[in-house]
Symmetry: C2
Subunit: 127 residues, 2 copies
Amino acid sequence: MNYSRQRETVYNVLRSTKDHPSAAWIYDECKKIIPGIGLATVYRNLELLVAQGKAIKVPVGQDQDRYDADISLHFHGACPICGKVWDEEISAPLNAALKAECEKNNSEGFSLTFFRVCGDCKAKQEQ
Amino acid sequence: MNYSRQRETVYNVLRSTKDHPSAAWIYDECKKIIPGIGLATVYRNLELLVAQGKAIKVPVGQDQDRYDADISLHFHGACPICGKVWDEEISAPLNAALKAECEKNNSEGFSLTFFRVCGDCKAKQEQ
DNA sequence: ATTAAATTGAGAATTATTCTCATTTTTGCT
DNA sequence: AGCAAAAATGAGAATAATTCTCAATTTAAT
């Protein structure tokens, strides 16, 4: 695999945030750095990063996929309305139990997501 | 909300399987019972069933969403290649810890999915 | 420098899902 | 049974995220 400035930029942009961004957001950020970058290039390199284990795709059952450069064992909260994704703190015992389970059944990985309406969407509902 | 044969059929088809089918598969099965049923009707009623809490959407980060009429507390395995979804057995302690966590942070629900290449895809890889 | 392999950008193509709207079905009421 | 309002449908158009194609450019080894 050869070096490319585009790939490096996609990775840097993804690493720059904890917001679990969508491909479209990453594309917009990359354009600020490499104005001529193509959307397909962003998708291509995100897919590569995931295949290489340098990023994960966070499935939330919304229209757009979310990406995360944090590949450590951690968990997500997601708003079922707007699709926003955040890191969710869970108890140490649960953390340990999950880690053990994952090792026991030798999964490549797992995804644990709690669904909860986020503050913004709750405010809009109450209007 | 009024009764409709289409809605009942969508629900019955979904309940008839443990395969976590896609909307397209459900549509094909429904057509065997109501040949003239429309695809939009299937989507509409799946969405309704989810909103009513009679089914869940299983996000697996693949192209198509998967649905499940089993709304009990349980967990999934998913193949990252073909998107197949199955029910995954986990240990009682983990089960209890998850239940507690969910109640503690009063989430509407959560999704726990282990990723593992399925037998079919593994066989294809080795060819 | 040269060349083969890898990567890109542009836009077309694909595909899952949602939307629109005229028509049909359901249901409460008489 | 007959009627009207509300709900639901089917068909196909519209939307939107993602993938594909391919000629042109860039990378990296010789």
